[in-house]
């Protein structure tokens, strides 16, 4: 009996038609997939009120597929949460809502903009990046819903501080990560015990690389927002990076606006996410490009991470995802 039969057998089942992939998974992706499923199931068993962060980006798209593999034909035993910076690419939000609808799951959206308008967050510049400020809204949301575990799609290959973070990452009641006092993580025996007010961040795809993510997306035939593919866009060059020209990010005086074929490798706050020059128009072409990539993901695309080598660690200590 195939999965499709289960869906029919369920009274309430109206999930997106799941298209099984074309071929069996490669050995190492199968290992990674199974590990992630195991981690998700352990978390659901050992915590009371988990949630999954879904931004519409490629890593969280993979996370949703893994949740399907872990829990279907049941509904996901957790809601999806998006911390909205309001600095979005419209294509990503459109995709986010469509995907949630297809999956027939619950999405909670909390906005950084709300916190700015209510004075909880004070900006130094009206158009500044809101990546840092997500922390406030994220912690407010955790409090509001009393979440004790949050699934995130972070990977250890993204950045140096992440390379040391556990799969189950403990946060104190302020949401802070203490890198020097992490719980040892042995075999697959995860310890998710916490005190009231604390929570754990859970990273099921810790051991995946950017290439693994794209190969998995290709294999599973997953849809991703269109801005991941090559498209013509008005950009300016700034400090060796391509900066998209938008209402929020107008060119500075003296900068020359040019049209270029680009794609995004991450989708975040529009004011600090830079595309790379690319002609890759399909997932297979992105896989190919990633195989020969010359720049790590964050270095190439995040304008705010460049400030200092230690900037990611600083933010993580403060509760950033």
């Amino acid at each position: 009996m195939k999965f499709a039969d289960f869906t029919q057998a369920r009274e309430t089942g109206k999930y997106a038609a799941y298209k099984p992939p074309r071929a069996p998974l490669s050995k190492h992706l199968r290992w990674l997939e199974s590990e992630a499923i195991h981690i998700m199931r352990e978390t659901v068993a050992e915590t009371k009120n988990p949630a999954l962060l879904f931004s519409g980006g490629k890593d969280s798209i993979v996370m949703l597929r893994l949740a399907e593999k872990a829990f279907r034909p049941d509904k996901f035993p957790f809601p999806l949460v998006h911390i909205d910076t309001e600095h979005n690419f419209p294509e990503v939000i459109e995709f986010r809502d469509r995907r949630v609808k297809e999956l027939d799951e619950r999405l909670i959206v909390r906005s950084v903009g709300e916190a700015i308008r209510s004075g909880r967050i004070v900006l130094r510049r009206a158009d500044e990046s809101r990546n840092v400020h997500q922390t406030v809204t994220l912690l407010d949301t955790i409090k509001e819903f009393e979440f004790d575990a949050l699934f995130g799609g972070a990977r250890r290959d993204e950045e140096k501080a992440r390379a040391k973070e556990r799969i189950i990452s403990h946060r104190d009641e302020w949401g802070q990560w203490d890198p020097k006092n992490q719980r040892p993580e042995l075999w697959s025996l995860y310890n998710m015990r916490i005190h009231p007010g604390e929570h754990v961040r859970v990273f099921p795809i810790s051991n995946w690389t950017e290439l693994d993510v794209w190969q998995y997306i290709a294999h599973e035939n997953l849809e991703v927002p269109s801005i991941y593919f090559s498209h013509e866009r008005e950009i300016v060059e700034r400090k060796g990076l391509l900066v998209p020209v938008t209402d929020l990010t107008p060119p500075k005086s003296g900068e020359i606006v040019v049209k270029k074929a680009v794609r995004f490798r991450t989708v975040g706050d529009i004011t600090c996410t830079a595309p790379v020059a690319s002609d890759a128009a399909t997932v297979d072409e992105i896989v190919e490009e990633t195989l020969i990539a010359r720049l790590t993901e964050r270095g190439a695309t995040r304008l705010d991470d460049q400030t200092s080598d230690a900037s990611m660690e600083m933010r993580k200590k403060e509760g950033y995802f």
């Binding site: 199974s34 040892p184 025996l189 290439l211 297979d284 720049l295």
Partner: protein, 425 residues
């Protein structure tokens, strides 16, 4: 394009060395020469090298992750690194070498297939090198490869390498290392890490073994698959499965062995038996499941099964017991307290436990057992542990998945110990 890496497998290895043996440089070299380092990372370490007033490219900076470490110039935690060659994918657990970080080494080694132990050819074998090999024995790593580093400082002299090899082979035998290999390298210059010759000159023509990377690419990954079938139940799904209206699905991962539809299994600790009815994944049912497959299982009979139970091969069941003898590395900052209760987690089962006796504490240089009454942070010793409910275990030497356990402090919730189950009580 993506077909080129269809069949590659994953090798996990850990690295240990005393401070300044060149561990960071070696890993940096391995990543750099295998073209796993990207331009912006190279640019970042070039900037830092220059800021420190040094010349060239300090490859050791590639693996120094946290601010505190960069300040102290040493690695203080486990960092995971990823790289791939056309034949294999590698996960490095990079751990610090100091005695005070034994717990980090144990953590890194718990999931590794191979341990790289570094020796500084100029300084000779240090007490710490012994300890690293001893930990590999305690965690039953199938392979230890000794990288005799800084060969450039001893004029690439074969005699030095041979002497180290003889000395360390004796240590390995004394400790009981399963397989041991030796490779002479210069992490700084690059000899025998990835390339046999650097800038066209072969400095060690007398060595005809594999380079470090060749070794890692070819060493067999030992399979848990040969062990008996073990399936710790993670979750129970009440969704109706199959033709029977009542059937429940048991969600879990095959931790060892192999199972097929129709096979006879035993549910533990209850001891009831049944047959496998279905093996379900989102991609359809299958006739069988192998080690490390995450699946949903249904049985041909209605049994009362919950999380923490284990479905196992009926012909070769694990031990069901409330008394376990184990080698334990104490990870907690407070010493072991026999008067206190701890939580013991093995598989998906967590039960209350108490330390019945501290049988011994090991001298971590020699693995000789000495009498002891407690264990302090980073100590390794043998304990007898009693549990309030029964647990299902195998000796660690037979099955790493069902032979590993952790102890959790009931009050602080810290993970205070990691243990490997010994054969009998």
């Amino acid at each position: 394009m993506n077909t080129s890496i269809k069949t590659i497998d994953t090798l996990r290895f850990t690295t240990a060395g005393s401070v300044d043996d060149g561990k960071s440089t070696l890993i940096g070299r391995l990543l750099y020469d295998s073209k796993s380092i990207l331009e912006d990372q190279v640019a970042a370490i070039a900037r830092t090298t220059e800021k420190r007033g040094q010349a060239g490219l300090d490859l050791s900076l590639l693996t120094d992750g946290l601010t505190a470490e960069r300040e102290q110039g040493i690695t203080i935690d486990v960092a995971y690194r990823y790289f791939a060659t056309p034949t294999r994918r590698f996960i490095i657990a990079d751990t610090p070498g100091h005695e005070q970080y034994t717990r980090n080494m144990v953590t890194g080694a718990s999931t590794a297939n191979v341990a790289i132990v570094l020796i500084d050819a100029a300084r000779g074998i240090q007490p710490q090198s012994r300890r690293h090999a001893a930990l590999a024995v305690l965690l039953d790593l199938p392979h230890v490869v000794v990288a005799v580093n800084k060969m450039d400082l001893v004029g690439y002299d074969e005699a030095v390498f041979t002497r180290m090899k003889t000395e360390f082979t004796a240590i390995g035998q004394e400790l009981g290392v399963r397989n041991i290999s030796f490779i002479p390298v210069s992490a700084l210059a690059g000899d025998m890490v990835v390339a046999r010759a650097v800038d066209g000159s072969a400095n060690m023509p007398w060595y005809d073994g594999p380079t470090l990377l060749e070794f890692l690419e070819n060493v067999p990954v030992e399979k848990q698959a040969e062990s008996a079938f073990r399936f710790p139940v993670q979750l129970v799904s009440r969704v109706r499965f199959g033709a029977s209206k009542e059937n429940r699905g048991y969600l879990g991962r095959v931790e060892s062995g192999h199972i097929t539809v129709g096979a006879e299994i035993v549910v533990l600790p209850s001891g009831e038996t049944a047959r496998i009815a279905e093996i379900i994944t989102l991609d359809g049912n299958s006739e069988s499941a192998s080690t490390l497959d995450s699946v949903t299982i249904t049985l041909d009979r209605q049994l009362d099964i919950s999380r923490g139970d284990m479905i196992a091969d009926a012909a070769q069941p694990p031990r069901v017991t409330d008394t376990v003898r184990a080698n334990v590395c104490w990870l907690g900052s407070e010493s072991l307290n026999s008067g206190r209760r701890y939580l013991l987690k093995t598989g998906t089962r967590t039960v209350r436990a108490q330390i019945a006796t501290v049988n011994s504490r090991y001298d971590v240089q020699t693995l000789t057992a000495n009498p002891a009454t407690t264990l302090n942070t980073n100590d390794i010793g043998e304990l007898l542990i009693r549990t309030v409910q029964p647990i299902m275990i195998d000796p660690y030497s037979v099955n790493h998945a069902t032979g590993g356990l952790i102890l959790i402090d009931e009050v602080t919730h810290a993970t205070v110990a990691a243990g490997t189950v010994l054969a009998d009580v």
